[in-house]
């Protein structure tokens, strides 16, 4: 079985861009600060509209999800199809702890984040232990996501079932005003980018690249593949949980569709693939691009799904590696400094 798959990898979908990492921290922080500065201007433009600010906050929440998923899938090749479920653990966890149990909000978010990180780590540990490949990891995590969705629907006393519930906690705080949630989610997204950027630069990043490019060679060179996979899953899942928790609290209500497979996982996968799997800035580019496209197409109704499908097809037929690796490749070919 494995033999015929080893005839060279060709142009991998998992992009190999941004291989050359320069050591200076300025080259990491300057682009992140630039992205932050541009996105910080958005409320000046949309700040009057409650609806559009809501869309922008959701877009940033998706950017956070995509960064977390990128750390797990793009950096260490674990196809986690439970992004929505892990974000939902953060979301429902924070909401229930703050609302039903009555913990202070920061405490509730912290505990829910921890829970998401631990569960993500556990899934990864199981996958690594049983040495499941991409597809098997995908199916096991997909099964986990479906089971979680059914739990949300079934445990009506705790979760409100199909309709979800309103979160009273924090309704008097800045979390429910029009502009501050945007800056909260933006800070979160930029913070996640910094964490991922720093991880890529550390020895952990070298291990990530080594095990993604050639797992066997990495193992032989003494990289503890299993350990780094679980690390990445813990950190990435905690990111998902925290983003889900904070988004739920700013939104003020949650339901299973807030974190559904079709609403989160599929969208996040497309955003990441659009931006470039395994690149640092791909997630934010993909999230911004798809949020804008989604808003432009809002009047199309059901036809929107068709347009999405067509976009996905065009994207992967023309630039299968994603936007950032493709542009990086063009610049490298043309640029004099090489």
């Amino acid at each position: 079985m494995t033999e015929r798959f080893s005839e060279g990898t060709g142009t991998s979908v998992i992009g190999g861009a941004e291989r050359r990492t320069s050591r200076s921290l300025a080259s990491l922080f300057l682009p992140i600060a630039g992205i932050g500065a541009v996105l910080a201007l958005v409320p000046l433009w949309l700040g009057d509209s409650r609806v559009l600010m809501g869309v922008a906050v959701l877009g940033l929440a998706y950017a956070c999800y995509t960064i977390g998923f990128n750390l797990i899938f793009g950096s260490t090749g674990q196809l986690f199809l439970c992004v929505g479920a892990l974000a939902g653990i953060g979301g429902y966890g924070s909401a229930i702890l703050a609302e039903t149990v009555g913990l202070p909000i920061p405490m509730a978010v912290l505990l829910a984040t921890l829970a998401a990180g631990l569960i993500g780590g556990l899934l990864s540990w199981i996958a690594v232990r049983r040495s499941l490949g991409v597809i098997f990891t995908g199916v096991v995590t997909l099964i986990f996501a479906l089971a979680f969705e059914n739990l949300l629907l079934g445990l009506t006393d705790l979760t409100g079932g199909d309709g979800g519930f309103l979160i009273g906690a924090g309704s008097e705080s800045f979390l429910r005003r029009q502009i501050p949630p945007y800056y909260l989610m933006l800070t979160l997204a930029l913070g996640f980018l910094v964490i991922h950027g720093l991880l890529r630069r550390s020895h952990i990043g070298w291990a990530f690249r080594a095990l993604r490019d050639d797992e066997l060679a990495a193992e032989l060179a003494g990289v503890d593949v299993a350990r780094y996979r679980v690390y990445a899953a813990v950190v990435g899942s905690a990111m998902l949980g925290m983003a889900g928790g904070l988004y739920a609290l700013t939104e003020g209500r949650i339901s299973p569709t807030t974190f559904g497979f079709a609403q989160v996982d599929v969208v996040v996968l497309v955003m990441l693939a659009f931006g470039g799997i395994g690149t640092l800035f791909g997630p934010i580019l993909g999230a911004v691009a798809f949020t804008v496209i989604d808003e432009l197409l809002i009047d199309l109704g059901q036809l929107r799904v068709l347009v999405y499908g067509a976009l996905i097809l065009m994207l992967f037929l023309w630039i299968p590696r994603g936007v950032i690796p493709t542009i990086a490749g063009l610049i490298r070919r043309r640029g004099p400094s090489g």
Partner: protein
């Protein structure tokens, strides 16, 4: 108890046949077809529209099966072309993303044009007693057709030259090429066959419950889980896993209640994968 097991077997047979198509395409070509459920839905819609246009039921079903096979051929000739240039996990991943795009296009189009459409085939006649249990005529015809299709599939792979050629490609692509079998032609054949299987499942399913335009994604997920539990690339494994999961699902649903039954089904599937990562009848590597 007996009634539940029989119901479970009917459902499981359909799961199994559905998974067989998915598992063959994956085992043979390393292509994961996420538009698989949509192939079934398209076939169901063709049957529905033909019958609306006063085509008698049997020819309409024939047209549906034809549409299923044709959709497999179209996939092979169009979106899957770039996939064939890749190998290994990159190939699986690109095939998954492209067919996801196809699934969106099909779902979006059908929901936009025919949001209310659903196929229900009514089989006449009252309940029939099996082992002292009354079964609906529709369920019986559905299981009979499914069993026939399964038997035909197994005979095809065991006893015909073409079937053996396909199996040889699943086992060793290079070896098959050396003895003069063209893996690409076999893959095209199997994609067409998987479309036919999807159409048969759509038709038999509609004898028990309506097949709606939104059913595609759920069908794909079911097929995927059954495929993995049965062992990737193993047709008998898919059939066995389908029947087992169908029985577990039905028994859990009647004794425990709906939402926990799904969780039990999913847990059973996850445990099988974890205990035997190669699946029930899969080949360990």
């Amino acid at each position: 108890m007996t009634a539940n097991i029989l119901d479970g077997i009917v459902l499981g047979l359909q799961f199994g046949l559905l998974a067989a198509g998915l598992t063959l395409v994956y085992g043979l070509g390393g292509v994961l077809n996420l538009a698989y459920g949509q192939m079934a839905v398209v076939s169901a819609m063709v049957v529905l529209f033909s019958m609306d246009a006063d085509v008698p039921a049997l020819p309409a079903i024939g047209l549906g099966v034809l549409a299923g096979g044709l959709s497999g051929l179209i996939l092979d000739l169009t979106v899957l072309r770039p996939v064939y240039r890749l190998w290994g996990e990159a190939r699986v991943l690109l095939s998954l993303l492209l067919t996801l795009g196809v699934a969106f296009v099909v779902d979006g189009f059908l929901n936009w044009q025919y949001p209310q459409a659903g196929l229900t085939l009514r089989i006449g006649g009252g309940p029939v007693e099996i082992l002292g249990v009354p079964m609906r005529a529709g369920s019986l015809v559905a299981s009979a057709v499914t069993l026939l299709a399964m038997a035909a599939l197994l005979v095809f792979f065991r006893a015909t030259t073409l079937g053996r050629a396909v199996r040889s490609v699943i086992e060793d692509q290079e070896g098959a090429r050396l003895v003069g079998i063209d893996p690409h032609r076999m893959l095209r054949l199997i994609l067409i066959l998987s479309g036919v299987l999807a159409a048969l499942v759509a038709v038999t399913r509609s004898m028990v419950a309506p097949v709606t335009v939104t059913a595609g994604f759920g069908l794909t997920v079911n097929a995927l889980i059954v495929t993995v539990v049965g062992g990737l690339g193993s047709v008998p494994g898919a059939l066995l896993a389908g029947i087992l999961l169908g029985i577990i699902n039905t028994i859990a649903a009647s004794y425990i209640g709906t939402f926990l039954s799904l969780i039990i089904l999913l847990t059973a599937a996850a445990l099988t994968i974890l205990i035997r990562p190669s699946g029930l009848l899969g080949v360990s590597e």
